[in-house]
Protein backbone atom coordinates (compact mmCIF):
# COMPACT_ATOMS: atom_id res chain seq x y z
CA UNK A 1 0.00 0.00 0.00
CA UNK A 2 2.53 2.54 1.17
CA UNK A 3 4.89 1.41 -1.59
CA UNK A 4 2.28 2.32 -4.18
CA UNK A 5 2.00 5.79 -2.63
CA UNK A 6 5.76 6.16 -3.16
CA UNK A 7 5.34 5.13 -6.75
CA UNK A 8 2.53 7.66 -7.06
CA UNK A 9 4.83 10.42 -5.73
CA UNK A 10 7.50 9.46 -8.29
CA UNK A 11 4.93 9.46 -11.09
CA UNK A 12 3.53 12.85 -9.99
CA UNK A 13 7.07 14.22 -10.22
CA UNK A 14 7.59 12.62 -13.61
CA UNK A 15 4.31 14.06 -14.88
CA UNK A 16 5.38 17.49 -13.65
CA UNK A 17 8.71 17.28 -15.47
CA UNK A 18 7.03 16.28 -18.71
CA UNK A 19 4.02 18.58 -18.57
CA UNK A 20 5.28 21.85 -17.06
CA UNK A 21 6.26 24.74 -19.25
CA UNK A 22 8.12 26.73 -16.63
CA UNK A 23 11.72 25.97 -15.74
CA UNK A 24 11.12 26.49 -12.02
CA UNK A 25 8.15 24.10 -12.04
CA UNK A 26 10.28 21.49 -13.77
CA UNK A 27 12.87 21.87 -11.04
CA UNK A 28 10.21 21.49 -8.32
CA UNK A 29 8.81 18.37 -10.02
CA UNK A 30 12.29 16.86 -10.14
CA UNK A 31 12.66 17.45 -6.41
CA UNK A 32 9.28 15.75 -5.76
CA UNK A 33 10.41 12.80 -7.83
CA UNK A 34 13.73 12.60 -5.97
CA UNK A 35 11.99 12.56 -2.62
CA UNK A 36 9.65 9.83 -3.82
CA UNK A 37 12.76 7.75 -4.51
CA UNK A 38 14.19 8.62 -1.10
CA UNK A 39 10.99 7.48 0.62
CA UNK A 40 11.12 4.22 -1.30
CA UNK A 41 14.70 3.66 -0.14
CA UNK A 42 13.74 4.36 3.47
CA UNK A 43 10.76 2.01 3.29
CA UNK A 44 13.00 -0.83 2.18
CA UNK A 45 14.90 -0.58 5.45
CA UNK A 46 11.76 -0.09 7.56
CA UNK A 47 10.36 -2.73 9.87
CA UNK A 48 7.01 -2.56 11.63
CA UNK A 49 7.62 -1.62 15.25
CA UNK A 50 11.41 -1.75 14.87
CA UNK A 51 13.73 0.02 17.29
CA UNK A 52 16.09 2.83 16.24
CA UNK A 53 19.39 1.40 14.95
CA UNK A 54 21.47 2.36 18.00
CA UNK A 55 23.18 -0.38 20.00
CA UNK A 56 22.66 -0.09 23.76
CA UNK A 57 25.60 -1.04 25.92
CA UNK A 58 25.35 -4.67 26.92
CA UNK A 59 22.87 -5.57 24.18
CA UNK A 60 23.79 -8.67 22.19
CA UNK A 61 24.33 -7.86 18.53
CA UNK A 62 22.18 -10.75 17.29
CA UNK A 63 19.14 -9.68 19.29
CA UNK A 64 19.77 -6.09 18.19
CA UNK A 65 19.78 -7.11 14.55
CA UNK A 66 16.48 -8.90 15.12
CA UNK A 67 14.79 -5.80 16.52
CA UNK A 68 16.11 -2.68 14.84
CA UNK A 69 15.30 -1.14 11.48
CA UNK A 70 18.00 -1.34 8.79
CA UNK A 71 20.31 1.66 9.22
CA UNK A 72 21.99 1.37 5.83
CA UNK A 73 19.18 2.85 3.69
CA UNK A 74 19.01 5.78 6.10
CA UNK A 75 22.68 6.51 5.48
CA UNK A 76 22.12 6.19 1.74
CA UNK A 77 19.17 8.60 1.81
CA UNK A 78 21.16 11.12 3.79
CA UNK A 79 23.95 11.00 1.19
CA UNK A 80 21.46 11.19 -1.63
CA UNK A 81 19.70 14.23 -0.11
CA UNK A 82 23.03 16.05 0.04
CA UNK A 83 23.74 15.23 -3.61
CA UNK A 84 20.20 16.32 -4.48
CA UNK A 85 20.79 19.64 -2.74
CA UNK A 86 23.90 20.27 -4.82
CA UNK A 87 22.09 19.48 -8.05
CA UNK A 88 19.12 21.62 -6.95
CA UNK A 89 21.38 24.61 -6.28
CA UNK A 90 22.93 24.24 -9.72
CA UNK A 91 19.50 23.92 -11.38
CA UNK A 92 18.14 27.03 -9.66
CA UNK A 93 21.28 28.96 -10.62
CA UNK A 94 20.74 27.88 -14.23
CA UNK A 95 17.09 29.02 -14.06
CA UNK A 96 18.19 32.45 -12.84
CA UNK A 97 20.82 32.76 -15.58
CA UNK A 98 18.32 31.60 -18.20
CA UNK A 99 15.88 34.28 -17.01
CA UNK A 100 18.62 36.91 -17.29
CA UNK A 101 19.39 35.90 -20.88
CA UNK A 102 15.97 35.10 -22.28
CA UNK A 103 13.73 37.18 -19.99
CA UNK A 104 11.39 34.25 -19.47
CA UNK A 105 10.91 31.04 -17.52
CA UNK A 106 8.86 29.49 -20.32
CA UNK A 107 10.69 26.53 -21.88
CA UNK A 108 8.72 26.83 -25.12
CA UNK A 109 10.36 30.22 -25.66
CA UNK A 110 13.84 29.05 -24.65
CA UNK A 111 14.68 27.20 -27.80
CA UNK A 112 17.51 28.30 -29.95
CA UNK A 113 18.96 24.82 -30.37
CA UNK A 114 17.43 22.72 -33.06
CA UNK A 115 18.22 19.79 -35.31
Amino acid sequence: MIYSLCLLLILVGLYGVVASRQTVKIVISLVIMQHGVHLLLLLIGYREGGSPPIVDSGQALTSFAGLSVDPLPQALVLTSIVIGLGVLALMVALCVRLYERYGTFDVTEIRRLRG
Binding site: I10, L14, V17, T23, I26, L30, M33, Q34, V37, L40, L41, I44, L72, P73, L76, T79, S80, I83, G86, V87, L90, M91, L94, C95, R97, L98, R101, Y102, I110, R111, R112, L113, G115
Partner: protein, 498 residues
Protein backbone atom coordinates in the same frame (compact mmCIF):
# COMPACT_ATOMS: atom_id res chain seq x y z
CA UNK B 1 47.67 -9.66 -0.67
CA UNK B 2 48.23 -6.99 -3.30
CA UNK B 3 50.33 -7.67 -6.35
CA UNK B 4 53.64 -5.97 -6.75
CA UNK B 5 54.55 -4.74 -10.19
CA UNK B 6 57.94 -4.47 -11.80
CA UNK B 7 58.86 -1.32 -9.90
CA UNK B 8 58.05 -2.87 -6.56
CA UNK B 9 55.02 -0.63 -6.04
CA UNK B 10 52.16 -2.20 -4.16
CA UNK B 11 49.24 -1.66 -6.50
CA UNK B 12 46.82 -1.65 -3.60
CA UNK B 13 48.26 1.62 -2.33
CA UNK B 14 47.72 3.14 -5.77
CA UNK B 15 44.00 2.41 -5.91
CA UNK B 16 42.64 5.16 -3.63
CA UNK B 17 45.04 7.66 -5.18
CA UNK B 18 43.15 7.57 -8.48
CA UNK B 19 40.30 9.28 -6.67
CA UNK B 20 42.23 11.22 -4.04
CA UNK B 21 44.83 12.91 -6.27
CA UNK B 22 42.49 14.73 -8.68
CA UNK B 23 40.13 15.58 -5.81
CA UNK B 24 42.97 17.13 -3.81
CA UNK B 25 44.23 19.01 -6.86
CA UNK B 26 40.74 20.42 -7.51
CA UNK B 27 40.60 21.69 -3.94
CA UNK B 28 44.13 23.06 -4.11
CA UNK B 29 43.27 25.07 -7.20
CA UNK B 30 40.27 26.60 -5.44
CA UNK B 31 42.30 27.42 -2.33
CA UNK B 32 45.58 28.67 -3.74
CA UNK B 33 45.88 29.21 -7.42
CA UNK B 34 42.39 30.29 -8.43
CA UNK B 35 43.52 33.72 -9.61
CA UNK B 36 46.64 32.45 -11.38
CA UNK B 37 45.59 30.97 -14.66
CA UNK B 38 48.96 29.55 -15.73
CA UNK B 39 49.69 27.92 -12.38
CA UNK B 40 46.24 26.29 -12.24
CA UNK B 41 46.76 24.95 -15.74
CA UNK B 42 50.14 23.44 -15.00
CA UNK B 43 48.89 21.96 -11.74
CA UNK B 44 46.11 20.24 -13.70
CA UNK B 45 48.58 18.94 -16.25
CA UNK B 46 50.94 17.57 -13.64
CA UNK B 47 48.00 15.87 -11.91
CA UNK B 48 46.80 14.28 -15.14
CA UNK B 49 50.34 13.17 -16.03
CA UNK B 50 50.73 11.49 -12.64
CA UNK B 51 47.36 9.77 -13.12
CA UNK B 52 48.47 8.45 -16.52
CA UNK B 53 51.69 7.09 -15.00
CA UNK B 54 49.72 5.47 -12.19
CA UNK B 55 47.37 3.85 -14.70
CA UNK B 56 50.40 2.47 -16.56
CA UNK B 57 51.76 1.04 -13.30
CA UNK B 58 48.42 -0.64 -12.66
CA UNK B 59 48.47 -2.58 -15.96
CA UNK B 60 48.16 -6.30 -15.36
CA UNK B 61 47.58 -5.93 -11.64
CA UNK B 62 44.46 -6.45 -9.62
CA UNK B 63 43.71 -5.24 -6.14
CA UNK B 64 40.93 -4.83 -3.63
CA UNK B 65 41.24 -1.80 -1.36
CA UNK B 66 39.18 -1.52 1.83
CA UNK B 67 38.43 2.10 2.64
CA UNK B 68 39.17 2.79 6.29
CA UNK B 69 40.35 -0.79 6.79
CA UNK B 70 36.83 -2.24 7.22
CA UNK B 71 36.56 -5.80 5.89
CA UNK B 72 34.70 -6.56 2.71
CA UNK B 73 30.91 -6.85 3.03
CA UNK B 74 30.70 -4.17 5.75
CA UNK B 75 33.10 -1.53 4.51
CA UNK B 76 33.40 0.31 1.25
CA UNK B 77 35.68 -1.29 -1.33
CA UNK B 78 37.54 -0.02 -4.33
CA UNK B 79 38.33 -2.73 -6.83
CA UNK B 80 40.94 -2.60 -9.55
CA UNK B 81 40.76 -5.26 -12.24
CA UNK B 82 41.69 -5.50 -15.90
CA UNK B 83 38.56 -3.78 -17.17
CA UNK B 84 38.99 -0.97 -14.64
CA UNK B 85 42.63 -0.56 -15.67
CA UNK B 86 41.67 -0.26 -19.32
CA UNK B 87 39.08 2.40 -18.49
CA UNK B 88 41.50 4.29 -16.21
CA UNK B 89 44.11 4.37 -18.98
CA UNK B 90 41.58 5.73 -21.46
CA UNK B 91 40.12 8.34 -19.10
CA UNK B 92 43.43 9.69 -17.91
CA UNK B 93 45.24 9.65 -21.26
CA UNK B 94 42.48 11.59 -22.97
CA UNK B 95 42.30 13.78 -19.87
CA UNK B 96 45.99 14.63 -20.17
CA UNK B 97 45.68 15.64 -23.82
CA UNK B 98 42.59 17.69 -23.04
CA UNK B 99 44.22 19.50 -20.13
CA UNK B 100 47.26 20.33 -22.31
CA UNK B 101 44.88 21.70 -24.93
CA UNK B 102 42.97 23.77 -22.37
CA UNK B 103 46.13 25.69 -21.43
CA UNK B 104 45.90 27.66 -24.65
CA UNK B 105 42.24 27.29 -25.49
CA UNK B 106 40.85 28.52 -22.18
CA UNK B 107 42.80 31.82 -22.32
CA UNK B 108 39.79 33.55 -23.82
CA UNK B 109 37.53 32.58 -20.91
CA UNK B 110 37.43 34.17 -17.47
CA UNK B 111 37.51 32.23 -14.17
CA UNK B 112 39.67 29.44 -15.59
CA UNK B 113 40.52 28.35 -12.04
CA UNK B 114 36.95 27.13 -11.73
CA UNK B 115 37.27 25.40 -15.09
CA UNK B 116 40.30 23.39 -14.01
CA UNK B 117 38.69 22.51 -10.67
CA UNK B 118 35.51 21.26 -12.33
CA UNK B 119 37.55 19.36 -14.91
CA UNK B 120 39.49 17.59 -12.17
CA UNK B 121 36.27 16.83 -10.28
CA UNK B 122 34.88 15.24 -13.42
CA UNK B 123 38.01 13.07 -13.67
CA UNK B 124 37.63 12.20 -9.97
CA UNK B 125 34.06 11.08 -10.56
CA UNK B 126 34.92 8.97 -13.59
CA UNK B 127 37.89 7.28 -11.91
CA UNK B 128 35.65 6.61 -8.92
CA UNK B 129 32.88 5.05 -11.02
CA UNK B 130 35.39 2.74 -12.63
CA UNK B 131 36.90 1.66 -9.30
CA UNK B 132 33.80 1.49 -7.09
CA UNK B 133 32.98 -2.03 -5.93
CA UNK B 134 29.56 -1.27 -4.52
CA UNK B 135 26.54 0.08 -6.29
CA UNK B 136 25.82 3.07 -4.09
CA UNK B 137 29.34 4.50 -4.27
CA UNK B 138 29.17 4.01 -7.97
CA UNK B 139 26.03 6.18 -7.90
CA UNK B 140 27.76 8.83 -5.79
CA UNK B 141 30.81 9.05 -8.06
CA UNK B 142 28.52 9.11 -11.06
CA UNK B 143 26.76 12.14 -9.62
CA UNK B 144 30.12 13.83 -8.94
CA UNK B 145 31.09 13.40 -12.58
CA UNK B 146 27.64 14.38 -13.82
CA UNK B 147 27.31 17.55 -11.72
CA UNK B 148 30.77 18.67 -12.82
CA UNK B 149 29.80 18.07 -16.44
CA UNK B 150 26.49 19.98 -16.10
CA UNK B 151 28.36 23.05 -14.95
CA UNK B 152 31.13 22.63 -17.51
CA UNK B 153 28.55 22.60 -20.31
CA UNK B 154 27.20 25.91 -19.03
CA UNK B 155 30.72 27.31 -18.58
CA UNK B 156 30.48 30.01 -21.25
CA UNK B 157 27.15 31.30 -19.85
CA UNK B 158 25.82 32.29 -23.29
CA UNK B 159 22.26 31.61 -24.46
CA UNK B 160 22.87 28.25 -26.10
CA UNK B 161 25.14 26.96 -23.36
CA UNK B 162 22.64 27.66 -20.58
CA UNK B 163 19.81 26.14 -22.57
CA UNK B 164 21.81 23.01 -23.38
CA UNK B 165 22.94 22.67 -19.79
CA UNK B 166 19.38 22.98 -18.47
CA UNK B 167 18.19 20.27 -20.83
CA UNK B 168 21.14 18.12 -19.81
CA UNK B 169 20.63 18.61 -16.08
CA UNK B 170 16.89 17.81 -16.22
CA UNK B 171 17.37 14.61 -18.21
CA UNK B 172 20.48 13.75 -16.19
CA UNK B 173 18.62 14.07 -12.87
CA UNK B 174 15.73 12.00 -14.23
CA UNK B 175 18.10 9.21 -15.20
CA UNK B 176 19.89 9.43 -11.85
CA UNK B 177 16.53 9.03 -10.10
CA UNK B 178 15.83 5.90 -12.19
CA UNK B 179 19.25 4.52 -11.27
CA UNK B 180 18.62 5.21 -7.58
CA UNK B 181 15.27 3.36 -7.73
CA UNK B 182 17.19 0.48 -9.29
CA UNK B 183 19.76 0.58 -6.49
CA UNK B 184 16.96 0.58 -3.89
CA UNK B 185 15.23 -2.38 -5.53
CA UNK B 186 18.39 -4.43 -5.80
CA UNK B 187 19.24 -3.70 -2.19
CA UNK B 188 15.75 -4.74 -1.13
CA UNK B 189 15.98 -8.00 -3.08
CA UNK B 190 19.54 -9.10 -2.39
CA UNK B 191 20.17 -7.29 0.90
CA UNK B 192 23.59 -6.06 -0.18
CA UNK B 193 25.18 -3.30 -2.18
CA UNK B 194 28.57 -4.94 -2.64
CA UNK B 195 28.70 -6.00 -6.28
CA UNK B 196 30.58 -9.25 -5.62
CA UNK B 197 28.12 -10.38 -2.98
CA UNK B 198 25.23 -9.20 -5.13
CA UNK B 199 26.48 -11.27 -8.07
CA UNK B 200 26.58 -14.47 -5.99
CA UNK B 201 23.06 -13.89 -4.63
CA UNK B 202 21.67 -13.07 -8.06
CA UNK B 203 23.30 -16.22 -9.41
CA UNK B 204 21.61 -18.23 -6.64
CA UNK B 205 18.11 -16.94 -7.24
CA UNK B 206 18.32 -16.41 -10.99
CA UNK B 207 16.68 -13.47 -12.75
CA UNK B 208 13.18 -13.30 -11.27
CA UNK B 209 10.63 -10.58 -11.99
CA UNK B 210 11.76 -7.96 -9.42
CA UNK B 211 15.40 -8.35 -10.47
CA UNK B 212 14.38 -7.95 -14.10
CA UNK B 213 12.59 -4.72 -13.18
CA UNK B 214 15.74 -3.46 -11.45
CA UNK B 215 17.84 -4.45 -14.47
CA UNK B 216 15.42 -2.63 -16.78
CA UNK B 217 15.67 0.51 -14.62
CA UNK B 218 19.48 0.34 -14.80
CA UNK B 219 19.36 -0.09 -18.57
CA UNK B 220 17.12 2.98 -18.91
CA UNK B 221 19.19 5.07 -16.51
CA UNK B 222 22.58 4.23 -17.93
CA UNK B 223 21.33 4.45 -21.51
CA UNK B 224 20.51 8.08 -20.73
CA UNK B 225 24.06 8.56 -19.52
CA UNK B 226 25.48 6.77 -22.56
CA UNK B 227 23.04 8.63 -24.90
CA UNK B 228 21.65 5.55 -26.66
CA UNK B 229 18.94 6.46 -29.06
CA UNK B 230 15.58 6.76 -27.41
CA UNK B 231 17.42 8.51 -24.56
CA UNK B 232 19.81 10.68 -26.57
CA UNK B 233 17.98 14.04 -26.76
CA UNK B 234 20.41 15.92 -24.52
CA UNK B 235 23.68 14.97 -26.22
CA UNK B 236 23.51 16.85 -29.53
CA UNK B 237 22.83 20.07 -27.58
CA UNK B 238 25.12 19.59 -24.62
CA UNK B 239 28.29 18.39 -26.33
CA UNK B 240 28.57 21.15 -28.94
CA UNK B 241 27.64 23.88 -26.45
CA UNK B 242 30.52 23.13 -24.09
CA UNK B 243 34.01 24.61 -24.61
CA UNK B 244 35.98 22.38 -27.04
CA UNK B 245 38.17 20.62 -24.45
CA UNK B 246 35.06 19.77 -22.44
CA UNK B 247 33.25 18.48 -25.54
CA UNK B 248 36.24 16.25 -26.18
CA UNK B 249 36.09 14.94 -22.63
CA UNK B 250 32.30 14.45 -22.65
CA UNK B 251 32.09 12.71 -26.01
CA UNK B 252 35.42 10.97 -25.70
CA UNK B 253 35.20 9.48 -22.23
CA UNK B 254 32.30 10.61 -20.02
CA UNK B 255 29.53 8.80 -21.91
CA UNK B 256 31.67 5.65 -21.84
CA UNK B 257 32.89 5.79 -18.26
CA UNK B 258 29.50 6.49 -16.66
CA UNK B 259 27.35 4.89 -19.37
CA UNK B 260 28.78 2.03 -21.39
CA UNK B 261 31.23 0.82 -18.74
CA UNK B 262 28.56 0.55 -16.05
CA UNK B 263 26.14 -1.15 -18.46
CA UNK B 264 28.80 -3.74 -19.28
CA UNK B 265 29.78 -4.25 -15.66
CA UNK B 266 26.19 -4.70 -14.49
CA UNK B 267 25.06 -6.85 -17.40
CA UNK B 268 28.00 -9.26 -17.36
CA UNK B 269 29.56 -9.18 -13.91
CA UNK B 270 26.57 -8.56 -11.63
CA UNK B 271 23.40 -9.78 -13.31
CA UNK B 272 25.05 -12.37 -15.56
CA UNK B 273 22.57 -11.36 -18.24
CA UNK B 274 21.23 -14.06 -20.52
CA UNK B 275 20.47 -13.79 -24.20
CA UNK B 276 17.00 -12.27 -23.83
CA UNK B 277 18.38 -9.42 -21.70
CA UNK B 278 21.33 -8.89 -24.02
CA UNK B 279 19.02 -8.62 -27.03
CA UNK B 280 17.82 -5.34 -25.50
CA UNK B 281 21.38 -4.02 -25.68
CA UNK B 282 21.74 -5.23 -29.28
CA UNK B 283 18.62 -3.38 -30.39
CA UNK B 284 19.57 -0.21 -28.51
CA UNK B 285 22.93 -0.39 -30.27
CA UNK B 286 21.49 -0.94 -33.73
CA UNK B 287 18.91 1.87 -33.40
CA UNK B 288 21.58 4.27 -32.09
CA UNK B 289 23.97 3.40 -34.92
CA UNK B 290 21.40 4.08 -37.63
CA UNK B 291 19.72 7.16 -36.16
CA UNK B 292 22.96 8.81 -35.05
CA UNK B 293 24.65 8.17 -38.39
CA UNK B 294 21.80 9.48 -40.53
CA UNK B 295 21.29 12.59 -38.38
CA UNK B 296 25.03 13.33 -38.41
CA UNK B 297 25.09 13.37 -42.19
CA UNK B 298 22.59 16.24 -42.27
CA UNK B 299 24.45 18.63 -39.94
CA UNK B 300 26.34 21.76 -40.91
CA UNK B 301 27.73 22.64 -37.48
CA UNK B 302 30.99 20.66 -37.14
CA UNK B 303 30.63 19.99 -33.42
CA UNK B 304 26.96 19.00 -33.77
CA UNK B 305 27.92 16.61 -36.54
CA UNK B 306 30.57 15.01 -34.33
CA UNK B 307 28.06 14.80 -31.46
CA UNK B 308 25.58 12.82 -33.56
CA UNK B 309 28.45 10.71 -34.79
CA UNK B 310 29.25 9.88 -31.14
CA UNK B 311 25.74 8.46 -30.72
CA UNK B 312 26.28 6.32 -33.78
CA UNK B 313 29.68 5.03 -32.64
CA UNK B 314 28.41 4.28 -29.12
CA UNK B 315 25.83 2.17 -30.94
CA UNK B 316 28.66 0.07 -32.42
CA UNK B 317 30.16 -0.45 -28.97
CA UNK B 318 26.84 -1.46 -27.38
CA UNK B 319 26.05 -3.77 -30.29
CA UNK B 320 29.37 -5.53 -29.68
CA UNK B 321 28.57 -5.83 -25.97
CA UNK B 322 25.07 -7.09 -26.72
CA UNK B 323 26.41 -9.99 -28.75
CA UNK B 324 27.91 -11.30 -25.54
CA UNK B 325 30.44 -13.49 -27.38
CA UNK B 326 34.15 -13.20 -26.59
CA UNK B 327 34.84 -11.80 -30.06
CA UNK B 328 32.02 -9.27 -29.71
CA UNK B 329 33.40 -8.09 -26.37
CA UNK B 330 36.91 -7.68 -27.80
CA UNK B 331 35.45 -5.64 -30.66
CA UNK B 332 33.38 -3.50 -28.31
CA UNK B 333 36.27 -2.73 -25.94
CA UNK B 334 38.68 -2.10 -28.82
CA UNK B 335 36.17 0.27 -30.42
CA UNK B 336 35.63 1.97 -27.06
CA UNK B 337 39.33 2.78 -26.76
CA UNK B 338 39.55 3.84 -30.40
CA UNK B 339 36.47 6.03 -30.21
CA UNK B 340 37.78 7.75 -27.08
CA UNK B 341 40.97 8.66 -28.97
CA UNK B 342 39.61 9.75 -32.34
CA UNK B 343 36.44 11.46 -31.14
CA UNK B 344 38.31 13.59 -28.61
CA UNK B 345 40.86 14.35 -31.34
CA UNK B 346 38.10 15.45 -33.73
CA UNK B 347 36.47 17.66 -31.10
CA UNK B 348 39.83 19.28 -30.38
CA UNK B 349 40.25 19.86 -34.13
CA UNK B 350 36.82 21.47 -34.27
CA UNK B 351 37.85 23.61 -31.31
CA UNK B 352 40.99 24.80 -33.10
CA UNK B 353 38.97 25.62 -36.21
CA UNK B 354 36.59 27.69 -34.09
CA UNK B 355 39.53 29.27 -32.24
CA UNK B 356 41.16 30.40 -35.47
CA UNK B 357 38.15 31.32 -37.60
CA UNK B 358 35.41 32.10 -35.07
CA UNK B 359 32.87 29.81 -36.72
CA UNK B 360 31.88 26.15 -36.70
CA UNK B 361 29.55 26.38 -39.69
CA UNK B 362 30.77 24.11 -42.49
CA UNK B 363 29.14 26.39 -45.08
CA UNK B 364 31.45 29.27 -44.12
CA UNK B 365 34.65 27.24 -43.89
CA UNK B 366 37.08 25.92 -46.47
CA UNK B 367 40.70 25.39 -47.40
CA UNK B 368 41.95 25.22 -43.83
CA UNK B 369 44.75 22.81 -44.72
CA UNK B 370 47.10 25.64 -45.69
CA UNK B 371 46.25 27.86 -42.76
CA UNK B 372 46.07 25.19 -40.04
CA UNK B 373 48.49 22.44 -41.13
CA UNK B 374 48.58 20.50 -37.85
CA UNK B 375 44.80 20.57 -37.45
CA UNK B 376 44.37 19.51 -41.07
CA UNK B 377 46.75 16.58 -40.80
CA UNK B 378 45.51 15.31 -37.45
CA UNK B 379 41.86 15.68 -38.41
CA UNK B 380 42.57 13.65 -41.55
CA UNK B 381 43.92 10.86 -39.33
CA UNK B 382 40.92 11.18 -37.00
CA UNK B 383 38.40 11.20 -39.84
CA UNK B 384 39.92 8.23 -41.61
CA UNK B 385 40.09 6.32 -38.34
CA UNK B 386 36.46 6.91 -37.42
CA UNK B 387 35.33 6.22 -40.98
CA UNK B 388 37.03 2.84 -40.83
CA UNK B 389 39.53 3.03 -43.67
CA UNK B 390 41.86 0.01 -43.67
CA UNK B 391 45.16 0.83 -42.05
CA UNK B 392 43.57 2.85 -39.25
CA UNK B 393 42.33 1.60 -35.88
CA UNK B 394 38.62 2.24 -36.52
CA UNK B 395 38.70 -0.22 -39.41
CA UNK B 396 39.97 -3.07 -37.27
CA UNK B 397 37.52 -2.54 -34.41
CA UNK B 398 34.54 -2.25 -36.76
CA UNK B 399 35.75 -5.29 -38.68
CA UNK B 400 35.88 -7.31 -35.48
CA UNK B 401 32.35 -6.19 -34.52
CA UNK B 402 31.03 -7.15 -37.98
CA UNK B 403 32.81 -10.51 -37.84
CA UNK B 404 31.41 -11.10 -34.35
CA UNK B 405 27.88 -10.43 -35.69
CA UNK B 406 28.43 -12.96 -38.46
CA UNK B 407 29.93 -15.48 -36.05
CA UNK B 408 26.92 -15.14 -33.74
CA UNK B 409 24.57 -15.61 -36.69
CA UNK B 410 23.16 -12.08 -36.85
CA UNK B 411 23.73 -11.46 -40.57
CA UNK B 412 21.25 -8.55 -40.66
CA UNK B 413 23.14 -6.71 -37.92
CA UNK B 414 26.42 -7.26 -39.76
CA UNK B 415 24.99 -5.73 -42.94
CA UNK B 416 23.60 -2.76 -40.99
CA UNK B 417 27.00 -2.24 -39.33
CA UNK B 418 28.73 -2.16 -42.73
CA UNK B 419 26.14 0.25 -44.14
CA UNK B 420 26.47 2.59 -41.15
CA UNK B 421 30.27 2.55 -41.63
CA UNK B 422 29.70 3.77 -45.16
CA UNK B 423 27.44 6.57 -43.88
CA UNK B 424 30.21 7.45 -41.39
CA UNK B 425 32.70 7.67 -44.23
CA UNK B 426 30.29 9.92 -46.12
CA UNK B 427 29.87 12.52 -43.40
CA UNK B 428 33.54 12.49 -42.46
CA UNK B 429 34.42 13.11 -46.12
CA UNK B 430 31.93 15.98 -46.08
CA UNK B 431 33.83 17.58 -43.19
CA UNK B 432 37.22 16.99 -44.81
CA UNK B 433 36.14 18.21 -48.22
CA UNK B 434 34.30 21.38 -47.19
CA UNK B 435 36.41 22.50 -44.23
CA UNK B 436 39.93 21.41 -45.06
CA UNK B 437 40.28 20.82 -48.80
CA UNK B 438 37.99 23.23 -50.67
CA UNK B 439 39.12 26.73 -51.66
CA UNK B 440 39.43 29.39 -48.95
CA UNK B 441 36.30 31.57 -48.78
CA UNK B 442 36.83 35.29 -49.26
CA UNK B 443 36.32 36.30 -45.64
CA UNK B 444 38.84 33.89 -44.14
CA UNK B 445 42.35 34.74 -45.51
CA UNK B 446 42.63 37.93 -43.46
CA UNK B 447 41.81 36.01 -40.31
CA UNK B 448 44.27 33.29 -41.09
CA UNK B 449 47.37 35.37 -41.68
CA UNK B 450 47.41 36.35 -38.01
CA UNK B 451 50.05 34.64 -35.87
CA UNK B 452 49.14 32.30 -33.01
CA UNK B 453 46.16 30.83 -34.81
CA UNK B 454 47.27 27.33 -33.97
CA UNK B 455 48.96 27.58 -30.53
CA UNK B 456 51.73 25.13 -29.65
CA UNK B 457 50.13 23.27 -26.77
CA UNK B 458 46.92 22.82 -28.71
CA UNK B 459 48.90 21.32 -31.59
CA UNK B 460 50.83 19.12 -29.18
CA UNK B 461 47.60 17.75 -27.67
CA UNK B 462 46.19 16.97 -31.12
CA UNK B 463 49.41 15.29 -32.26
CA UNK B 464 49.44 13.21 -29.07
CA UNK B 465 45.93 11.89 -29.73
CA UNK B 466 46.70 11.27 -33.42
CA UNK B 467 49.75 9.20 -32.41
CA UNK B 468 47.46 7.34 -30.02
CA UNK B 469 45.12 6.51 -32.92
CA UNK B 470 48.01 5.22 -35.02
CA UNK B 471 49.42 3.23 -32.11
CA UNK B 472 46.06 1.60 -31.47
CA UNK B 473 45.96 0.38 -35.08
CA UNK B 474 49.15 -1.55 -34.34
CA UNK B 475 47.51 -3.39 -31.44
CA UNK B 476 45.74 -5.59 -33.94
CA UNK B 477 49.13 -7.02 -34.95
CA UNK B 478 49.42 -8.49 -31.47
CA UNK B 479 46.43 -10.65 -32.29
CA UNK B 480 44.24 -8.75 -29.82
CA UNK B 481 44.21 -11.67 -27.44
CA UNK B 482 46.96 -9.71 -25.77
CA UNK B 483 47.30 -10.73 -22.14
CA UNK B 484 47.61 -7.20 -20.80
CA UNK B 485 44.93 -4.89 -22.08
CA UNK B 486 41.93 -5.41 -24.27
CA UNK B 487 42.06 -9.19 -24.18
CA UNK B 488 42.48 -9.13 -20.43
CA UNK B 489 39.54 -6.75 -19.99
CA UNK B 490 37.43 -8.94 -22.23
CA UNK B 491 38.25 -11.93 -20.04
CA UNK B 492 37.06 -10.00 -16.99
CA UNK B 493 33.69 -9.47 -18.62
CA UNK B 494 33.20 -12.95 -20.00
CA UNK B 495 34.12 -14.51 -16.67
CA UNK B 496 30.50 -13.93 -15.66
CA UNK B 497 29.54 -12.93 -12.12
CA UNK B 498 32.46 -11.91 -9.87
Amino acid sequence: MGDFDMFGVDIRTLVPLFVAVPLAAALLIQLITRERQLLSGWLTNVTMLSLVLMSCLAIGGSALYHLGGWPSPIGIDLRLDNLATLMLLVINTVGLAVSLYSMDYMRRYTATGHFYSLFLLMVTGMNGVVLAADLFNLYVFLEVAAVASYSLVAFGCAHEELEASFKYIVLGSLSSALILVGVALVYGITGTLNMTQMATRVAETGMDAPLLLAFALFICGFSFKAALVPFHAWLPDAHPAAPAPVSAMLSGVLIKAIGVYVLARLAFNVFGAGDSELSLLRWLGIVSMITGGLLAAGQNDIKRLFAYSSISQIGFIVLGLGLGTPLGLVGALYHLVNHALFKSLLFLNAGTVEYATGTRDLRKLGGLNQALPVTGATSLIGSMSIAGLPPFNGFWSKLIIVLACVEAGYYGFAIVAVLVSIVTLAYQLKVQRTAFFAALPKELPALLSKPGREPRLMSLAMILLAIGCLAMSLVVLGGLRDPWLIGAAQQTLSAGPF
